[in-house]
């Protein structure tokens, strides 16, 4: 199975370069830990700000991790071989994003209750926090991958990617942070969660085409 071999390759490479994979998670933990230092250790204030802090940190960690998504494949010529291979580039791109999310996004989601606890986010709402991040972070990964595909051929792409993609992440940020905040107040969160799920479905359907088109354009000159 061609695609299984590619997923296996990605996982193997991620396993052999565990240090790189952990970077976004460490970034997430550090950024979250900086907020109490910058604001105040006051629990009531931190509890109000916790949803926003966690979501902004997750958003930035996700986008920074996406920057290198296709970089090494572009530089060492693997991407050219993938483009010339009979497998569908859309599918390859989707699997690549999902594998990458599995090794960077999922650990972040798993660690989020710990960081939420440090910000005095109520324990009873942890389930909803995890649910919203599980639905939202893959959308961020897919959007980030679009930016990564469009900028992979550029030498100075580091800051361009967030400039392109951050405006597009606004809905995820709004609904994700809102769901997290509502949950902490003990209010129903079904509406924002459904909207996050809808955005996930939309992104899973459309983003692979944009990513593949971006990769083709990046390789054409």
């Amino acid at each position: 199975m061609k695609l299984a071999a590619l997923v296996r390759r990605d996982l193997l490479l991620a396993y052999r370069r565990r240090g790189d994979v952990a970077t976004p998670v460490i970034f997430f933990v550090m950024v979250t830990a900086l907020f109490p230092l910058a604001l105040s250790p006051e629990p009531a204030l931190l509890r109000t700000l916790a949803p926003g802090v966690i979501w902004v940190a997750a958003l930035l960690a996700g986008l920074i991790g996406q920057g290198s998504l296709f970089k090494s494949d572009y530089e060492d010529g693997t991407l050219e071989q993938l483009l010339l291979s009979p497998v569908s580039l859309e599918l390859v791109a989707l699997l690549r994003v999902l594998t990458h999310w599995l090794v960077t996004g999922l650990p972040l989601v798993i660690l989020s209750p710990l960081m939420a606890m440090l910000l005095f986010y109520p324990a009873s709402a942890m389930g909803m926090l995890i649910a919203s991040l599980l639905l939202g972070t893959p959308v961020l990964s897919l959007l980030g991958a679009v930016g990564a595909a469009l900028t992979v051929g550029l030498r100075r792409s580091g800051l361009l990617l967030p400039i392109l993609i951050l405006p597009l992440t606004v809905p995820v940020l709004i609904f994700g942070a809102r769901a997290t905040a509502l949950a902490s107040q003990g209010e129903p969160v079904a509406a924002p969660l459904y909207l996050l799920a809808a955005m996930l479905v939309l992104a899973l359907t459309l983003a692979p085409f944009a990513i593949a088109a971006g990769l083709r354009v990046s390789l054409e000159s």
Partner: protein, 245 residues
């Protein structure tokens, strides 16, 4: 119809057509904008709540309107450029982007100037202003990406993909910002634009929108001419055009 379309898409044909059309559109827009301003600033009655402060809508609303219209133009051009590989379409996008960004900026500035007498502060996280700000960010992203490539055609195609992704996202952004705003009980002082506005106020507004449209048409064509010349600088027809006295 199709042959006409095909002919229009040829850069030299479009260049010469625009050369003839631009003055007409430019003069027409100047006259209509002056007429609209006269109507809006002198003829229209002052608002019973906001006094004369409301008159800024005659700049604010058309700017906001045009900032969205320009993005729609770019999205259509991006699709045409990617699907039919039409060079002129990318020139249209590249020409419209800075105009759209300027309109978005103008809408933000006039919106916040209007906000001072209404809310007592220059900035409020109002749903429309926030959407407008994000739209400005989208324009900035397009311009940055379009200019980041050494090869213009690669830059054109990459930024066209970004425009299409943005155009799918824009309605979602718009509604999510509205939802966010209503949840937070933001101030909504803006007068509705539409049927609940007095005709004496509405007519100048519509005239201003028409004037802004003509202004956009004139300047987008002028800018397309520039973009076409830049993109086609190595072709024979541009060389002949330069050599011609």
């Amino acid at each position: 119809m199709f042959t006409w379309f095909h002919k229009l898409a040829s850069p030299p044909y479009f260049y010469l057509l625009a050369e003839r059309l631009v003055p007409w559109f430019a003069w027409a827009s100047l006259l209509i904008i002056l007429a609209g301003l006269y109507g809006g600033l002198w003829l229209a009655p002052p608002d019973y709540q906001q006094g004369d402060g409301f008159r800024i809508i005659y700049i604010h609303v058309p700017s906001a309107w045009m900032s969205m219209f320009a993005y729609a133009v770019m999205a259509v051009a991006a699709a045409i450029g990617l699907i039919w590989r039409m060079k002129l379409a990318h020139a249209v996008s590249a020409a419209a982007a800075p105009l759209g960004a300027s309109f978005a900026f103008l809408a933000l500035v006039t919106g916040s100037l209007w906000g001072k007498p209404m809310w007592g502060t220059y900035w409020v996280w109002d749903a429309r202003l926030t959407s407008e700000l994000i739209l400005l960010f989208l324009y900035v992203g397009y311009i940055a990406l379009n200019q980041a490539f050494e090869d213009q055609r690669t830059g054109d195609r990459a930024s066209a993909i970004l425009t299409l992704v943005g155009s799918v996202n824009l309605p979602i952004i718009h509604y999510s910002v509205q939802w966010w705003n209503t949840l937070h009980q933001g101030p909504t002082v803006f007068v509705g634009t539409g049927s609940d506005i007095a005709p004496g106020m509405l007519v100048p507004l519509l005239v201003m929108i028409a004037g802004f449209m003509l202004y956009f048409a004139a300047f987008v064509m002028k800018r397309i001419q520039v973009e076409v010349l830049r993109r086609e600088r190595n072709t024979n027809w541009v060389q002949e055009l330069i050599d011609k006295p």
